[in-house]
Amino acid sequence: MRTPLAWLRRNLVVIAGLGTLAYMILPNVVVTVFSFNNPSGRFNYAWQEFSLDAWKDPCGVADMCGSLGLSLQIALWSTLVATALGTAMAFALVRYRFRARGAVNSLIFLPMAMPEIVMAASLLALFLNMGIQLGFWTILIAHIMFCLSFVVAAVKARVLSMDPRLEEAARDLYAGPVQTFLRVTLPIAAPGIAAGALLSFALSFDDFIITNFNSGNTVTFPMFVWGSAQRGTPVQINVIGTAMFVIAVLVVLAGQTVGNRRKKAQPK
């Protein structure tokens, strides 16, 4: 059974899985490699020669870093608001029985069960009908709206798996409601809240379709990339893409390491 074919059969899952991973990583590799390119025309699609110019001057393109800052700002605010509102909703849905619970659940589920363009278009219909000026605020409102459901889903999953007896134990030990919440409930729910916050930051920062409809003349980073696809892509876009990938990998790895340490530090 030591033939190559047998080996291939035994490791089929690993090979197929790594193949998929290669497919997923390939564009990131291309983005990284082409950040060192010195393109001859306006478009950075064909390899010309090695150059560090773009890395030395990442903000050398007009308006790009401004749009990046705007996207970060919007992502931060929508994460903050969506996480606060979503966490409260998740707790209400998991911890309390009340009438209209089913209706609330479906209302929260619906934005996730709808093509993004439908929400994008309907929000535009609202803003147009009300004569609201499109821009920073309309983008922010839209982002909070679609991040909300994802936060609720993430926090709900975590709260559902929490043992309510831990809170009862805290109350038995004469902890007040505030103390119980801050020192028992919140720390246990924290990974779910963090996951929801991280997800909504990523979703908001990267959102294109809803922003495309509701931004007016305001240009977020994805809008800038979209525009540059028509006008000509500066190499700096690849620099930002590479930097974002590296930072994301480091942040997530750091988060997991902290999580693992905590797990190990816990008795049992």
Binding site: V14, T20, M24, L26, F34, L93, L107, S122, A142, I209
Partner: protein
């Protein structure tokens, strides 16, 4: 009083009696829900109502629009853009199937075989969420460029002959063909397939695999009878998370396709933002929504996991 005469109550609560202000406590969930629900009502439900009213308006941008209950817009829009509709469903369906086919082995690998590499692999799956997907989609233009190594390789192994025969490519080109759009869609939504699959696979007790093996089930049988059925929740939510956004996407069709590969999303986008024919655009997006909701409902019923919702 004897013990038998005592009312069958629960054993006396340990600790001090808790004072429960009944009415206030019943209001707690409503207060917790209020801000979020208000947000969704004002910026999700109300917009839908506005869009419904827009879809039955007639008029022009210069003279203004007016609600005239002009339901014909729906029929006209539907018949005019039927090809784009069918194409969207076809592309999204193909991409979803490919995502499942490609994503399952990777999710399986991470859940059962990765060992200490598990975290790194998970990070590599999640990391794309944090890198602008538009930049990565543009990178496919480079990868699939005419005469590039990928296209040459696909041509050499005869892959392009097969896809040409299927009508997905033309000659020795991949860019601006349906294949490029499906490839981009598959790529973009793979993480949305892999993560739910992984989380449902991870929950499976591996002792079940051992038990099946002890009962002389071959690995293929173990997968077919134990692993796959138990991963159904992940399969269902993964396919939904892939199909729904893919059906309304226009980014891949615009960046990697041509005018022959336009999807319904492109049509809605240009009707709303360029042609400014709001009633048609609103009708189209309602038709898309209804189609997707109906398909999803049927699918969830069939897959038998209603508890997902």
């Amino acid at each position: 009083m004897t013990a038998t005469a005592a009312p069958p109550q629960a054993p006396a609560p340990a600790g001090p009696p808790v004072h429960k202000p009944a009415v206030r406590k019943r209001l707690v969930p409503y207060w917790l829900l209020l801000p979020g629900i208000l947000w969704l009502l004002v910026f999700f439900v109300l917009p839908m109502i506005y869009q419904a009213s827009t879809s039955v308006q007639t008029g022009s941008l210069e003279e203004g629009f007016e609600v005239t209950w002009h339901f014909r817009t729906y029929w006209d829009a539907f018949t005019e853009y039927l090809p784009q509709f069918l194409r969207s469903l076809l592309y999204a369906g193909t991409a979803t199937a490919l995502c499942l086919l490609l994503g399952y082995p990777l999710a399986y690998l991470i859940a059962f075989k990765a060992g200490r590499w598990r975290n790194l692999l998970l990070v590599l799956v999640i990391a794309p969420f944090f890198t602008s997907f538009l930049i990565r989609t543009l990178a496919w233009k480079t990868i699939l460029a005419d005469g590039g190594p990928v296209v040459a390789g696909l041509n050499a192994v005869g892959f392009l002959d097969v896809t040409s025969w299927l009508g997905m490519t033309e000659g020795e080109r991949v860019l601006a063909t349906p294949l490029a759009v499906v490839c981009g869609l598959t790529y973009n939504f793979l993480p949305f397939m892999i993560l739910p699959l992984y989380s449902s696979l991870e929950r499976i007790d591996t002792r079940l695999h051992e038990a099946a093996g002890d009962l002389y089930a071959r690995p293929v049988t173990v997968f077919r009878k134990v692993t796959f059925p138990l991963s159904m929740p992940g399969v269902v939510s993964g396919t939904l998370l892939t199909f729904i956004p893919a059906s309304g996407d226009y980014v891949n069709a615009e960046l990697l396709g041509s005018t022959d590969t336009r999807m319904i999303g492109s049509v809605i986008q240009s009707q709303y933002l360029r042609i400014l024919d709001y009633p048609t655009a609103a009708a189209l997006s309602f038709i898309l929504m209804a189609t997707v909701l109906i398909m999803v409902t049927i699918y969830i019923r069939r897959a038998g996991t209603e508890d997902l919702v």
